[in-house]
Amino acid sequence: MLGQNEQNIKKRMEGRVAINKILMVLFGLATAVGLVFLVLLFYRVLTQGIGYLSLDYILNFPAPYPEEAGIYAGLIGSVFLMIIVAIVSVIIGVSTAIYLEEYAPKNKFTEFIRVNIQNLAGVPSIVFGLLGLTFFVYMFNFGYTLIAGGLTMALLILPVIVVAAQEAVRSVPAEIKEASYGMGASKWQTIARVILPAAIPGILTGAIIALSRAIGETAPLIIVGAATAIYTLPESLLAKYTAMPIQIYNWTGRPQEEWQYVAGAGIIVLLAVLLIMNSIAVLIRNKFQRRL
């Protein structure tokens, strides 16, 4: 009896091991598909753009001739935009998350708001462009300026930041919050000294990932009127501006083949900035995690 059972078990075990192997191969293939396309993308971008990429390219304003054109205005414009977006969206986003997680009464209405913030994170970016056009460009009368673009992009990534910050705040263990309240700390003291320090890695990681989504966005910026060709850097919040994806989009739209290479070089710069931002996110996370 026992021996038979063991044989059965062995047989079934063999079946399971085989299934495991097949699935491993399938999952591996799926990964490979993604990797192949990523490599193709890098290959295309690099071969097309590398020839035009130089220090001059990074430091030149747009020009009528491909050889003289550069991404300087776009690069600096994108950096300025991201500074505005980061400040506005992180402050509002983290405050919202703290309110929803720590202060708001736990009722149906709060839950309704929470779900809808998650839904907002999925709304197409062009819709936020229209919102920015209505409010910031026309109603607030900012016109086609840096601040209008920055605020629009801030709204765009606000839901993502709120959700990331909410998750970070929620994952702070209840035990250490209780420890703080148990010593007579007020809610705000507990938030400032216990909850936020513990939530910061999660908040920052979420914020940087959201920012790297924003830095590549084109559609909303076109709608709120980012300029395609400007020869100065924005000098104030109410100045005209451009951004890297706008420049790249503009160059790819031109008929002559050389402009495709100029655009390719722009994509390399954009990817490099993205890579730097994501590395910072990883660094921050590792640094804080080691401290915990």
């Binding site: 009464p105 736990k106 263990p173 035990e175 250490i176 209780e178 420890a179 703080s180 309240y181 148990g182 010593m183 007579g184 700390a185 007020s186 003291q189 000294r193 216990v194 513990a198 401290r291 915990l292």
Partner: protein, 282 residues
């Protein structure tokens, strides 16, 4: 920091005419033995009642143990004493709890103030993910102490009070998460002491600890009662018998019996107490 408030109340008493003052003092002296007086306390989680008409006077500078089967409301009762239970939004209470003759449920009474006087040590050690020093200095800091020398003194005194100074004096800047469970729990006790409370509530403080750490904490409780009133929830009846002066037995949200520990264990008055301590149920 809290001395200020007490001084104020004292002054008020002194302002009165001579005769009532003597009277009041007289009353105070009589009551001086009880630091917390609970009367007719009921508590509900939503529509589920967890405490029924609990009345109990907690003696000052003694160890009061709370025993009873799981789910009988020991933790709930303990957390009511510093109003931590109200962090559960559905909680409703009725009745009265007086800390040093002041009604803690009154609107005027600040729960933050209460918690500086009635500190708490939790079942699972719960240090902050900070250094030992920052853990112990947390309480004084939130109450406004900034001077490094003062904080240094408080940290040393509190760690000594929790009998862990010698073990940790060279590791003050290490993260408390790197300590053993027993060490963490004593750091948590030191952290509670640093606020200079009168009363320390302990909810099964040794249930997550090994026997040696448990013995250390028990010994510590004995030392602490010189200066503090201690209320300790425990599942371990030997522990209650070893370390407490008075013992309260809870069952299904009711206080069944509350007496001197020796009395309660040697000749319990209630059949249910007897059944419980002789291990016939629970």
């Amino acid at each position: 920091m809290n001395g200020v408030m007490e001084e104020k109340t004292n002054k008020k008493v002194n302002q009165g005419s001579a005769k009532p003052e003597v009277n009041k003092e007289g009353i105070k002296k009589e009551k001086a033995n009880n630091i917390i007086e609970v009367s007719d306390l009921n508590l509900w989680y939503g529509s589920d009642q967890a405490l029924y008409e609990v009345s109990m006077d907690v003696p000052e500078k003694q160890v009061t143990a709370i025993i009873g089967p799981s789910g009988c409301g020991k933790s709930t009762f303990l957390k009511t004493l510093n109003r931590m239970v109200e962090m559960v939004p559905i909680v409703k209470t009725s009745g009265s709890i007086k800390y040093r003759d002041q009604e803690i449920f009154s609107n005027k009474y600040k729960e933050e103030y209460l918690r500086t006087k009635v500190g708490m040590v939790f079942q699972k050690p719960n240090p902050f993910p900070k250094s030992v020093y920052d853990n112990v200095a947390y309480g004084p800091r939130i109450h406004g102490i900034k001077k490094k020398e003062v904080l240094d003194q408080i940290v040393e005194k509190s760690l000594k009070g929790a009998a862990i100074w010698d073990e940790l004096k060279d590791r003050l800047n290490e993260n408390a998460y790197g300590l053993s469970g027993g060490q963490q729990q004593r750091v948590c006790i030191a952290r509670a002491l640093a606020v200079e409370p009168d009363v320390i509530l302990m909810d099964e403080p040794t249930s997550a600890l090994d026997p040696i750490s448990t013995a250390k904490v028990e010994e510590l409780v004995q030392e602490l009662k010189e200066k503090y009133s201690i209320i300790i929830v425990t599942h371990n009846m030997q522990q209650a018998a070893r370390i407490s002066d008075k013992t309260a037995f809870f069952l299904n949200g009711e206080l069944i019996e509350f007496a001197d520990t020796d009395d309660l264990f040697q000749n319990p008055h209630d059949k249910r107490t007897e059944d419980y301590i002789t291990g016939r149920f629970g």
